[in-house]
Symmetry: C2
């Protein structure tokens, strides 16, 4: 079984909640990789028998690190309209809230359409070598990352950079067909922007992540196990908090999702 | 009393919830202006006696239009850490959920800081004439808007534009000292980006809005009743949903807040 599918196995409980288990394969410094928690929160909605439509937006808030082991996730449709649903998700350990999420699901209809933000130019994935990340944590090995710009600083020498932008080709490792849960996890793949700006590995961690999905399930299935071009950049860093805006395009140039993060940093 | 403060008057109830009332001054096509609902949800947290820290991020989901009249808003701290708090907010009418929000509050500490996204060039507010919006709805009269670029299309002639960007000076009308609630309302001030792209007034409405506050209360107080430079642009429009990314700078060039929206559109 693919490690992502293993992490997304959420067992239905008699009270309507689901039982999950943290995955060592997606381990981070303290607790799991945020992207896998986002994917698990979204999966609780995707598995709900009352679900209508497909994921269109979600916000996940990381309230506390998860300890290794079991967790309970509960998804509740708080409002169901004719073709849209609003969900609240809580993820708990020992009855304490570790993460919250709101998810919006809806039907998609054929409309006038345009991708305003064009895919930045980049050499083909096969022309960009895979970057191996330091082996201190597990999750980066779950992704094939090929940095076009803004890889981890080669030296942590405190040299300040004017831009926090990174651009990379990325996909699951081993490759896996794309769906909304995998895309939610991929949206968190960027190392902290403050490291890129400062070439200093200061403590940092995501507090909240919002995703807007522009692609439906059929479009993601068509991408299959192809590479995504992923871009992230911070807009402001102040008082211990910075934001990050990110985009994920298909190889053919379709903007599949955009995401935003608020991230804690120290010093 | 300023119309914003009137809208933000939320009366404490014995059960811990608060009673509000929709404000005709902020009326929109169907129900209230989304920005005022965001401000009311945030205000429920700001008024909570258990609040620690200041607003740093929030996401508000508009689940259904509010009918004119009373509503109940309930804020609950789902996780309180040493210097951070995670909140869930529900806004109800007749016991049905009309809006949900998650709010993150925290202490801000002196750190290395940088505004990476510089304020775009613009003539001074006094040099840009105030744009009067059509009088079909009330809320635009609550804001002094001075468009530098991307005002409402002069003619709804269906001419397609490549960019959905708007740039304007904006502040409360009448002017009012800035705080986090006022800033939350201001972050929704942009008319639908799909109108800008297409010069067609198709039905559109915000479904979810996320805000990251980069300024603390002291910095907002220093802005006072000054103008903000506000920028918004869509990244993709597809299947009846588009996103918008936005920034709000002070006159002196500080990035006070960034926001993102998912917006419904028809046709």
């Amino acid at each position: 079984m693919h490690p992502l599918d293993d992490a997304l196995a959420l067992a239905a409980q008699p009270d309507g909640s689901r039982l999950g288990r943290t995955s060592a394969a997606y381990g981070n410094m303290v607790g799991p990789y945020g992207g896998i928690i986002a994917a698990q929160a979204l999966q609780a909605v995707r598995l709900d028998p009352g679900l209508q439509g497909e994921p269109v937006s979600m916000t996940v808030n990381f309230c506390a690190p998860l300890a290794a082991g079991e967790f309970v996730v509960r998804a509740r449709a708080v409002r169901t309209n004719r073709s849209t649903q609003h969900w609240l998700v809580e993820l708990r350990q020992a009855d304490a809230v570790c993460a919250t999420a709101t998810v919006f699901t809806a039907a998609r209809r054929p409309t006038w359409a345009a991708d305003e933000l064009a895919r930045p130019p980049a050499p083909a994935p096969a022309e960009v070598p895979r970057t191996r990340m330091p082996a201190r944590v597990a999750w980066p090995e779950r992704y094939e990352m090929r940095f076009v710009e803004g890889a981890l600083p080669a030296a942590w020498d405190g040299t300040e950079h004017a831009s926090s932008r990174s651009l990379l080709w990325v996909r699951d490792a081993p490759p896996r067909p794309l769906d909304h849960a995998a895309l939610a996890a991929l949206a968190d793949v960027f190392y902290p922007r403050v490291w890129r700006r400062r070439a200093r590995p200061v403590p940092a961690g995501t507090v909240s992540m919002t995703l807007y999905f522009h692609a439906d399930a059929a479009e993601l299935a068509a991408v299959g196990a192809g590479h995504l071009l992923a871009q992230a950049q911070g807009q402001a860093f102040r008082g211990g908090w910075f934001d990050q805006t990110a985009q994920l395009w298909s190889e053919t140039g379709a903007l599949l999702a955009v995401s935003h993060q608020l991230v804690y940093y120290k010093q």
